[in-house]
Symmetry: C2
Subunit: 853 residues, 2 copies
């Protein structure tokens, strides 16, 4: 929760923060790991989930040491005649008495919320004002104290039903019919609250960590809808609790159990054990064989068919099975925790992380990522007590991420399908559906209007190397540097260079590096073979400060005749406005570039390609290049028949609010590279798109004239499948609510007032907010700037405490969401950032003081 | 089927071919597409699959034009009291009579094979000799002719039960209990035979393509075991027939239907429609919403509970639903065919295939790959009639492939899980299970004994660029070229080169290319920036000819003092024998290499790394370098503190019969690169492994000393998951039966006699058979050799007709299987190849003659 600070320096900010309701934002995920918690799933309805819960509870509680058992039934229909929590509560009491348990037991059953019809049926009176759409507080509580053989500390059974409806139908139907809707977030919030507080009493037991256990029992089958209509396997996914699957021992039960198991795995769940009641069909043999003994399978005696049976004999006969199950669950819990604990050290010992100075990484700085759910990581923390919590992936995992939780689930299903259908198959001279569909979508989307060919490769860097080969061939072709193979010798004497911008970045392989200006990445230490085969121009940049947009011109472009007013913009839209083509500045740019190009053409080496990141230079520090400058540059090059390459690896697929950054520039390239977000952020795949005339410069009678570049997994089916799904998902207003009515751009994700507030903060030098990107540069003195700077470190650590995972680019901090992220979530990020900026600044001042004293 | 040829030139080969039984090899897959064929699945038992089959059949047959309907029930238990084919046969007859169909109908039911207990129950006598383990020929046939209102051509209903057992239990239990086992291959073979011949009569109907339909009805649920115990969804997967899923309208049916749907998708099936009988729960609403309307969902009236009901009213009431279902199935069929037909042209128009001269690709040369199943592609063919057939992926899709069908299914499930659990998450300074497990397996496997760090990247080429950066830093560190950042300027003047072998290939990005000798890939046309930063040595090679192994020494290494006998080996093992270290040749190599290295050290540029593909140079033409030479070379370099890089991108993970080729060489590198087979051939992922001393040369106090190279999807969860599964699968004798008892190498996959035969063929110059690789070089005159040569083209086209998909390296042809491929399958490939070589040679002679005349 946002803790409001006292020392607000700007009254505007105070108003601003207050204007964002925090009520809609549940507390961040916090799942205790102090004791095992399992979720119980059924492979069908009526397979005996609750019997197994009761059996487990009794096996756990009937021991010699005081134990706590928490049984939670989040969703109950058919209430009050069906109440699983009451069943567990009652059976446990019966078993406790029957078996003369050593310790005393305090058992309780608590039903928290119920629909109006439930309330009416219990109270007997008919409250129904028709307007009520939510659930009512029921608070029905029963408890029973059972005395054991021995005196002293006793055990505790806490049973809770969170939400109850009256009709014995699927929860989504009951919720609809009884006007008792509960949305997914509320179910999770209540569940989390129960998980954290429900075991409250367990702290009473000294050192009793291993003597507490919690079960969450679902309703119906694994994919039965919850009250909102979401499938329960999706609804509970953010917690990703370890699972117990209750299988089906009947005819057809092998199939049902395997399918249910697969549905859970396809949601990223881990299943600790499968258990079911026998029906004499030996289903366990087929199941074990299929699962290759990876999951323990336990078989219970047949459940008596007679519904008047009190089941006491059955529980007696099942005792050893429940004991084994309990042991399996306890040891799976220990193993999981043990692994989580050892992971940081193991990682430190065997990984070689990219872009990481291992000497500077502390053991405790390693983040253990247990899973991802949409935009959030779930991370393991050990801060005295161990727990799972969530962090928003604000670095978008190196700018790759796009999926919300729904898309992640869809992608999992789609890549599973693609792997089963295709695995990977050879691409050249072949065609298969995912590659074709992906290519069609690309040419109808990011390549629309200019591109006619799709060249697949693996990542941004390889896509760039391919683009350069294409551009140079096209240039050679257009400028007669070679017409036939025979003139190769002459061609060898020609040195081709690129025209590029300082601060640009195009990838880490040598060919891509050669196309960028010298930097800390290119020195002898890093790449002895780098020589920098380009003419690198300083670009003019634009940025926001105190809510206004400024233009920063490089030295070579200082305006002499230019009126200064044109260097200020009231809005971002004005920056991108095509009307600027008729401004004085356009003329200045044009003259400057003409001069640069003609200067270059006099040298013995030729400029064979223009390469640039349209609009935003990412790795270079999230600098926004003046779009007018880039537009003029493209025109100048195309006039001189220098092929233009857009590196949209970072900017493509809605990263900057439009499907391509080229749209923002209002011009098209001859060649463009895409990667990162293209597969939705799931797996590596890149493409180089080319115009037809570029393609034609490779046609000839010999294979040697073809583009002889390729990678093993060219156009791999999984990548193309993920890309096709993501491309469609992002641009469809039905799946992406951020798409505006014309379908051409995303709505504004970063709240204007908050952006204004941050851009006015004294710790902040400049801000860029565009599409899914919010970046700021911290004010520093010179020594704290630059890529290797650790200046921003303390701020980042604070943000991680707030549940925001960011990575800096030196003293540039950025937040990056996905194309489908709700603006509300973005606001929460900005609010937390704003809060931490104050703290950061006062700390920096303290540091500064202590340095000077 | 292998057609034996008449003109055998070598009697030995004749014997050889005859010694391989073809009986065990079913005819290659051939699925007709002349009419729609669907497979009917149930989301549970007793959901009414057969009712729906009968309803569909009647909707299809009760039309104004003559129609043929084939209903197949491959697996029937509970026979004869349960017989779904008889049910369809009988109901159809009843419906036909009741609705006064216009055309006459000939309906038949045929039960082909049954278990002994079935036979006994029908014949009434007790045959039981106890020894019988197979099924018996039953051949029970019934037919009925129904006269319609109109005269003339009639319709035809053919119902067939392929295998029947008596007990009403799961087929695997029935087969076991009734000693009536049928293996999966036999089920498929019989089914294919029914699918191809069953509609035989349909050819009688002129132009009646759209008036024939076939249904294959499964038994039980989607994942119910078949007779062998394989799940039916796996058993039928090679055919990948379009599916009809019968859902479940009962309570819990949403979950069961979704899970069954997911199980089918996770096997790569396409589902044309979901249909189920209503139970008043509106399950279709929840299903539609979850499936986002991607699959039509149809709802039938509730099925009468009274089992004496003749269902005629129900069929009447269901008529419109079955009509809609039929229309959906017909149009899905047309759409699928339409798409298959248009794919080659579309591919030609928008793909830009790597390594492909588009001008030389004909429309009809494009292969439409519908799916992969283990080692085989399923491809769409139109040779007058349209059908699906299989081709063995003998190019291993650019050497990436490893999975058998079981591993492919497991990988699909695992990557689905990984996508759902992790998607992709940020790697640097983080740890997550798949990356850690993969790294641990690598260090305990291919890196065992020397590597201590794992650096992840995307493909072989990037892994090589990283390896070179590592080697150069280590070299600089060891040779004092820089100690601190400050001496960078001095370092800049040092030119570092690689020592490499001619004919080697390390990838297509510039840095990797610079480490290989000039070739057709490196000219100005292809890469204007290539300069060739290496000293490239000609390596001695070994090869087999007429069953013997020969050594081919390069000019610079011609033996003067060497006795010629040492240049001949009796066996491949002898080639790899470490005893050769004490041979005269070892001395010759050592002296030669010392000289080369000291010569190089006099030049102003320094040799900063040795890079080589151990044992086999892949892209260079499948040349086997003398392992003794490589071993001596490694030793010479390590003595001079020149870091050694093994490029195991092609050779790693059992490609050459050992987990690494380094094992064959009996020496270890300082740095090694792996990719391709590492993920089992599913998705791009590569690693560069390094020794601890290499890693330490990057430790320092500044981030600028770290290795600043990385790709967006570094250590992506899907790749690491696939790699971990594949690494374990390949080396585990329980999952890979090719692993020998010590677990160190694969058994011999290529039959010795067949290899001998091919190596003795007059069309063949040399042969290499090692691990999963069988390569041969065709005898050519000079003009037909080289990378761009089309000499082998006719041979390759013939092999495709035989169901073998290969790609040439100029005049080198290779067959490549996976580490788990059965030796028997390899023999089939060799037999076909041998057969085609004769043909190829006689054609070449003809061509030669016609050229000369």
């Amino acid at each position: 929760m946002l803790r409001l600070r006292r020392n607000f320096q700007h009254s505007r900010r105070f108003l601003l923060l207050n204007s964002f309701s925090t009520a809609a934002h549940p507390p961040p995920l916090h799942l205790p790991l102090s004791h095992p918690t399992y979720i119980v799933w059924g492979s069908n309805t009526s397979v005996g989930k609750t019997l197994i819960s009761a059996g487990l509870a009794s096996s756990f509680l009937l021991s010699d040491s005081p134990s706590h058992f928490l049984y939670l039934k989040p969703i109950q229909t058919g209430f009050p005649s069906d109440s699983d929590s009451r069943f567990v509560f009652q059976k446990l009491s019966s078993i406790y008495r029957r078996r003369h348990a050593p310790l005393s037991l305090l058992a309780s059953d608590h039903v928290l919320n119920a629909s109006l019809p439930v309330l009416n049926s219990i109270s007997g009176c008919g409250i129904d004002d028709g307007s009520e759409l939510a659930m009512c507080d029921l608070g029905r509580y029963e408890e029973q104290r059972l005395v054991g053989k021995e005196p002293g500390l006793g055990s505790r059974l806490i049973c809770k039903t969170m939400y109850a409806w009256r009709e014995a139908v699927s929860p989504h139907l009951a919720a609809e019919r009884e006007s008792g809707l509960v949305d997914d977030a509320l179910v999770l919030q209540s569940l989390q609250s129960c998980l954290n507080s429900g075991m409250g009493a367990s702290s009473e037991i000294e050192g009793a960590k291993s003597r507490a256990m919690c079960l969450v029992e679902t309703a119906g089958g694994v994919a039965s809808p919850g009250p909102s209509g979401s499938l329960q396997c999706d609804l509970y996914r953010p917690f990703r609790l370890p699972c117990l699957l209750v299988g089906d021992g009947r005819l057809g039960g092998i199939s049902g159990t395997i399918s249910a198991y697969e549905t859970l795995k396809l949601r990223g769940y881990d299943i600790a054990a499968i258990i079911f009641a026998d029906n004499g069909l030996k289903n366990e043999v087929a199941l074990s064989s299929h699962l290759r003994n990876r999951v323990p399978i336990l078989v219970l005696p047949p459940i008596p068919a007679d519904i008047t049976d009190d089941l006491m004999d059955w529980f007696d006969n099942s005792w050893s099975v429940f004991d084994s199950l309990k042991e399996i669950m306890l040891s799976a819990y220990s193993e999981r925790l043990g692994r989580l604990r050892e992971m940081p050290k193991k990682a430190m010992n065997i990984f070689w992380w990219p872009f990481t100075q291992h000497k500077l990484v502390a053991d405790e700085a390693v983040t253990v990522i247990d899973s991802r759910c949409g935009e959030n990581f779930t991370v393991f923390k050990d801060q005295g007590n161990e727990f799972m919590t969530q962090q928003f992936d604000a670095c978008a995992s190196w700018w790759t991420q796009g999926p919300d939780t729904a898309l992640q689930t869809e992608l999992a299903s789609d890549v599973g399908y693609a792997a089963a259908r295709f695995g990977h198959v050879m691409f050249p001279e072949n065609v298969y559906e995912p590659a074709l569909e992906c290519a069609e979508l690309l040419l109808d989307g990011v390549g629309k209007g200019w591109a006619s060919r799709v060249y697949f490769s693996d990542n941004g860097s390889t896509a760039i190397e391919i683009a350069l080969k294409m551009a140079f061939r096209k240039f050679s072709f257009d400028h007669g540097i070679h017409d036939t193979q025979e003139s190769n010798a002459e061609a060898q004497r020609t040195e081709l260079m690129v025209l590029a911008l300082n601060g640009s970045y195009h990838g880490d392989t040598l060919g891509a590096m050669e196309a960028q200006a010298p930097s800390c990445y290119t020195g002898f230490l890093q790449q002895p073979w780098y020589s920098g085969r380009g003419v690198f121009l300083d670009p003019p940049t634009v940025y926001m400060h105190r809510g206004k947009w400024y233009l920063s011109l490089p030295v070579g472009l200082q305006p002499e005749t230019l009126r200064f007013e044109s260097a200020l913009f009231c809005s971002r839209d004005e920056v991108f406005d095509e009307k600027r083509d008729r401004s004085d500045l356009a003329g200045v740019y044009s003259a400057y570039l003409s001069q640069q190009l003609s200067y270059s053409s006099k040298s013995k080496s030729l400029l064979g390609a223009l390469i640039m990141e349209p609009v935003i230079q990412g790795a270079g520090g999230m600098h926004m290049v003046d779009p007018l400058f880039q537009r003029v540059l493209v025109k100048e090059c195309q006039d001189k028949k220098i092929p233009v390459i857009f590196d949209e690896v970072f900017t493509g697929f809605w990263r900057l609010g439009s499907e391509t950054a080229a749209e923002l520039l209002h011009c098209v390239p001859d060649i463009a590279c895409f990667a990162k977000l293209m597969t939705g952020g799931l797996i590596p795949l890149s493409v180089t798109l080319a115009s037809n005339s570029v393609f034609e410069s490779f046609l000839g009678d010999s294979k040697l004239e073809a583009l002889l570049h390729g990678h093993s997994y060219s156009a791999h089916a999984l990548g193309c499948t993920a890309a096709a799904k993501s491309i469609k998902w992002f641009k469809n207003p039905q799946t992406n609510q951020n798409i505006n009515s014309e379908g051409r751009s995303l709505r504004e994700l970063w709240d204007e007032n908050l952006v204004y507030g941050i851009s006015s903060h004294p710790a902040v030098k400049r801000v860029v907010a565009l599409g899914t990107l919010f970046a700021l540069e911290l004010q520093t003195d010179g020594s704290s700037a630059g890529y290797a700077s650790l200046y921003s470190r303390s701020l980042l650590l604070k943000l991680r405490e707030d549940g925001i995972y960011t990575r800096p680019l030196g003293n540039v901090i950025y937040l990056m969401c996905g194309p489908c992220t709700k603006p509300d979530s973005c606001s929460q990020l900005l609010i937390k950032l704003l809060g931490r900026l104050d703290e950061f600044m006062s700390e920096s001042r303290e540091n500064l003081k202590s340095c000077h004293s």
